[in-house]
Amino acid sequence: MTGVLRVGGYAVGLIGLFTAFSYYGIPQLVPEPPPAEEQVSGAMMIEEFVAAGARIYARACVLCHSGLGDRAPKLDAIATVWRERVDDPRYRGNAKSLEEYLRESMIEPSAYVVKGFGKPGSGDTESPMPGANRGALALSPGEIDAVIAHLQSTAGAKVTVAPRPVPASGVERPAAEATVGEKAPDAVAALQKFQCDMCHHLPGLAVEEGARLPGPDLRKLRETAANRVAGMGARDFIVESILFPARVTAEGFEPGLMPEDYGDRMLAAELQMIVDYLAEGR
């Protein structure tokens, strides 16, 4: 038994070292939540439209088109080099303008492959870039327009695309990928974004003292959440209450008032921030 304790202790120590290195030797980057479709509406000013394109570009393109030119071609001089490319005998597309060339390059990347950037063995006839309108990127037509506007702007060319009017149906993607807007920077902003303070007294959000609101006062939720449902911890209770409000209704309050679609509208990171804030005050 002594042997087990000795080697067990050694193993625990070693695992502790690896874990400590992972915590303290490596930057604790907080990865982005799943990408949500950028709001691109016909009411946007052109500067807003270009800025939206820059955000999409930073999210979807910059990992390869980093500006170093090692993983994918540089795009800073695209306003001039596109003409040389469409005149190249290797060009297999139909673009007649910079806008068309950019759109074509995003949707059919193999129409022209810059030398040295093709798939290995393809002789620079096949691009490794995925189509921007499908697969893991799956940008909407409006988002592709915005990226084109951003690229034209940064390359010093005239911006020739404009925001499209939003279709009557409202969204271009399935309900599961519904528009959720830009991520709130912190928990208080997230609570405001979803207008939680319209119905609840909340820590950090001033509401007229004594005002009678339709939902329970949540300022002391940190102390009470763990005891609301037997066997359920504070964090899970809060998650459950936000995503499935019909399951638990506080005594003295009318059931069915709280919207049940936060699961579709709230980013995972926003939910986590709100839960952290309400459960632990951080």
């Binding site: 080697v7 690896f18 980057l29 090692d70 490794p128 499935f244």
Partner: protein
């Protein structure tokens, strides 16, 4: 018996899922309301469901992702172990049979005994994983079952066959000696074939989730199961896991031998477990050497499948995890070499080549530091200004794959050289051609290192996709040296006189902790790399086809992820220590007459 019971339950779960149709209807009913496309109607299979948070049942305070993560990781640890051990057990048994040496037979039997102890835990953790998936991720499980239903049933049946083979192989060991030995070896071969088939079948589910094949862009299954199984990443993952399982099995039984060595009270026991530890370390190292190459192949295939996924893996947030990987692999190489260096104490007198150890250690440390150097640093604006840019002006270039590939190839050559020195210390050249052959080996080493370094430098002057391809000639160079040296060494050893006796058991206790270090680092590394492989799908259950709609559809912080890896490793090691303890019960007398000193036959 427990394994059989668990697998029967598994079969029942699969049958109850009815190929997935019964579970496709989500709690929200969102999928049922979808319009059936022409493609779906044509092939009779639905597309990938579009899940939302209510489609993921929650139970009490359980975090679904963590539950499935830990269950899957524990199952993989145990499965890798029980599939890896029989491969080298069969090889050891075969060697013992051909050489008529009962020591090999006894050692192989003891190895498989540990594997037997872990087998029920493999089945139990597998059962827990299936139930966790069904209960917590019903939509995903249903979709996968709809495609892989026949494969899963075959898997369950093969598991029963694996159970039968393993029990017959282990319990028939003593009865099938002498003239029956070939039959027993055939049984072991059958065990390994079934085990490998199990591994490749289950690999297909993981690779389908990373690089789906046999389905269209909406996830509609065309009906060809083989197309779904044989995806672009299937073969490289099969090769990688096959090698890794052997290395892992070697590392774990090495820890067992170390544990028994530390607890041993007689010279006979110490000698037996020292020999066992030496063999296990050899198995782990031999299987480890080609692993980086299998890893490169896997990564290359990932890039070929999706450059976006490849860059996410190597150039995004996951790149930092490869710095942790470098620490772990550096630990493994240093521990394995340290054990081999300590092993020279088993020989009579001082080894003629012992003076080289300090240089090899220096090379290993330098290579480790190169591998450890990150490419892109996360810095504040003030730090960036102080550094003069995003990359360190001197060390920055060492962060590129060219430098890392070079470092790992040289590390492998240095480790092989350590092993070679140990072997060559036992013999004395008796003929003139042997000296010339030795000089040829030295020339090969020098030329190989020069070629590897040259290719590494050349990599800085070519685009990234060409640079990745340069790892192939680097690897080929390393393998060529190993093959040539093994052939030459064998020729010399077979015609030379033995100059040393090996005193098994003459090893310091600290060397046994090196074996433990190998086991812990291997386990932790498997957990880490498994996490990376799985997480590069990011917010997709099945990449580009089926989105993760749960509240957990985000990549956790590195610290959180490694905490889960650590917890899984800890639980596994505690369970495996329990298995060690069980395996040691009632076998005190069996090794009392083991060899203390033996002629040098490495």
């Amino acid at each position: 018996m427990k394994a059989l019971a668990v697998m029967l339950l598994l079969v029942l779960v699969l049958l109850a899922s009815g190929g997935g149709r019964a579970l496709v209807a989500s709690p929200s009913g969102a999928m049922a309301a979808e319009t059936v496309s022409a493609a779906e109607a044509a092939v009779g299979h639905p597309g990938a469901p579009k899940l939302t948070p209510p489609d993921y049942p929650r139970y009490g305070g359980l975090n679904s992702r963590v539950v499935v993560w830990v269950a899957a990781q524990l199952h993989l640890f145990f499965a890798a172990f029980v599939l890896g051990v029989p491969i080298f057990v069969l090889a050891i048994e075969f060697i013992g049979w051909r050489n008529r040496d009962p020591r090999y037979d006894r050692m192989a039997h003891e190895f498989i005994k540990i594997s037997m102890g872990a087998f029920s835990l493999t089945a139990t953790s597998g059962g827990i994983l299936v139930f966790a998936l069904v209960a917590l991720y019903p939509g995903l499980f249903a979709y996968l079952t709809g495609i892989f239903g026949p494969v899963m049933l075959l898997y369950a049946l093969l598991f029963l066959a694996e159970t039968a083979c393993l029990y017959a192989y282990y319990y028939g060991w003593d009865a099938m000696q002498g003239r029956r030995k070939p039959g027993h070896i055939l049984l072991g071969l059958g065990l390994n074939l079934v085990g490998t088939a199990l591994m490749v079948l289950s690999n297909s589910w993981a690779t389908f989730m990373m690089a789906p094949s046999g389905v269209d862009a909406r996830g509609v299954f065309a009906g060809d199961v083989w197309a779904a199984v044989a995806g672009p990443l299937w073969t490289p993952l099969n090769v990688h896991r096959f090698l890794a399982n052997i290395a892992y099995g070697g590392a774990i039984v090495g820890a067992y031998a170390a544990y028994r060595f530390i607890a041993a009270r007689t010279p006979g026991e110490k000698a037996h477990y020292d020999w066992m530890g030496h063999t296990a370390n050899g198995v782990a190292i031999v299987a480890l050497l080609p692993l980086p190459f299998a890893g490169y192949w896997m990564t290359k295939e990932i890039y070929d499948y999706s450059q976006q996924m490849g860059i996410t893996l190597m150039g995004g947030v996951f790149a930092w995890l490869f710095i942790i990987q470098a620490v772990l692999i550096g630990t493994i190489f240093l521990a394995a070499n340290f054990y081999l260096w300590c092993g020279m104490a088993r020989l009579d007198g001082t080894s003629r080549t012992a003076y080289l150890v300090k240089y090899i250690a220096g090379v290993l440390v330098i290579c480790f530091l190169v591998w450890f150097t990150p490419h892109t640093l996360v810095m504040t604006a003030r730090e960036t200004a102080a550094l003069g840019g995003a990359y360190h002006p001197v060390l920055g270039p060492l962060g590129l794959m060219s430098a890392k590939n070079t470092a790992v190839n040289v590390m492998i050559l240095a480790t092989f050289l350590t092993y070679q020195l140990f072997r060559r210390s036992m013999v004395r050249s008796t003929q003139s051609w042997m000296a010339r052959a030795t000089r040829l080996q030295v020339a090969f080493y020098i030329a190989a290192v020069a070629n590897i370094v040259w290719l590494g430098v050349y990599g800085y002057f070519v685009p990234a996709n060409v640079r990745i391809g340069l790892s192939v000639p680097q690897v080929a160079t390393t393998l060529l040296v190993i093959v040539v040296c093994v052939v030459v060494d064998e020729a010399i050893a077979s015609r030379s006189e033995r100059v040393h006796m090996i005193h098994w058991g003459r090893m310091p206790t600290r060397a046994q902790y090196a074996l433990f270090t190998l086991a812990v680092a291997f386990t932790w590394l498997m957990g880490l790399m498994g996490y990376i492989r799985s997480s590069i799908r990011q917010h997709w259950h099945v990449y580009t086809v089926m989105r993760d709609g749960s509240a957990d559809a985000f990549t956790p912080t590195i610290g959180h992820a490694t905490s889960i890896v650590s917890a899984s490793t800890l639980v596994f090691l505690l369970l495996i220590l329990f298995v060690f303890w069980l395996s040691g019960l009632g076998r005190g007398q069996a090794v009392a007459s083991g060899p203390v000193a033996a002629p040098a036959t490495p």
